[in-house]
Point group: C2
Chain length 114, copies 2
DNA sequence: TCATTGCTCAACTATATGGTTGAGCAATCG
DNA sequence: CGATTGCTCAACCATATAGTTGAGCAATGA
């Protein structure tokens, strides 16, 4: 049988949208991507990403408030890490999708889509 | 072996972020949710969602440009449908996550988090 | 042909948010 | 104690975007 989906409440819609919104930004995705392999300090993330310190800190704070990353103080440093294993599945799903869309676009262009 | 993740190119980051951005809005999630069971005309979506016609049309156009829905003309009507099966998995993943976060919040509040 | 229906689009306003700058706080060091 | 380091936060500006309004287009019907 086909799945039956309930209508979502406005609160649920807002919450889910908020989760997507946290990931709807290249800089934040980059930071998340840098945390895929291992936890890192803000300084490391700043160096690896090329973002300004204040900007990176702001993005990390947002990701933390959204529950995507954990924050831990270690001496002078603050260490961030991924908070949710689902991040990997989510990234794979979206990246696959984007690659497929890009491939379809390319095919369309080659066929005379322009 | 633990997964090794490559750093994503700026173009890829921007594309993936764009996909998330398309879903980072309660009204658009509501429209997507209404399409879970079956395809619908704009008129049906407007009535079911409570959005204004122009607003719904704008959101649907954006979802279409992002590749999340298909568009088909049927007489006077325009019929929209989900374009990607992954939508279901994505929604399930995010909704589970949001429910867990909400549960954790509630526990924290009960324990004296305020 | 002209009117109606169903939808899209352009232009506009209000709000949200990314990025910068400078202040400031907590932990370590001397 | 004061100085330094690593980071956060508030205030600001520029841009992006959700929602409205009104114009306009395509398909049907008279």
């Amino acid at each position: 049988m086909a799945k039956k989906h309930d209508t979502m409440s406005p609160q649920m819609l807002e919450r889910v949208a908020g989760q997507f919104r946290a990931l709807a930004e290249p800089s934040r995705l980059q930071l998340m991507n840098l945390l895929f392999d291992r936890e890192r300090t803000v300084g490391e993330l700043v160096e690896a990403s090329g973002l300004s310190l204040a900007n990176a800190s702001k993005h990390l704070g947002l990701l933390h408030r959204a529950g995507w990353v954990t924050r831990r103080k270690d001496g002078l440093n603050v260490v961030y890490a991924l908070a949710d294993e689902r991040t990997f599945g989510l990234c794979e799903l979206m990246c696959d999708r984007v690659r497929e869309l890009a491939a379809a676009e390319a095919t369309f262009a080659k066929r005379g889509g322009g």
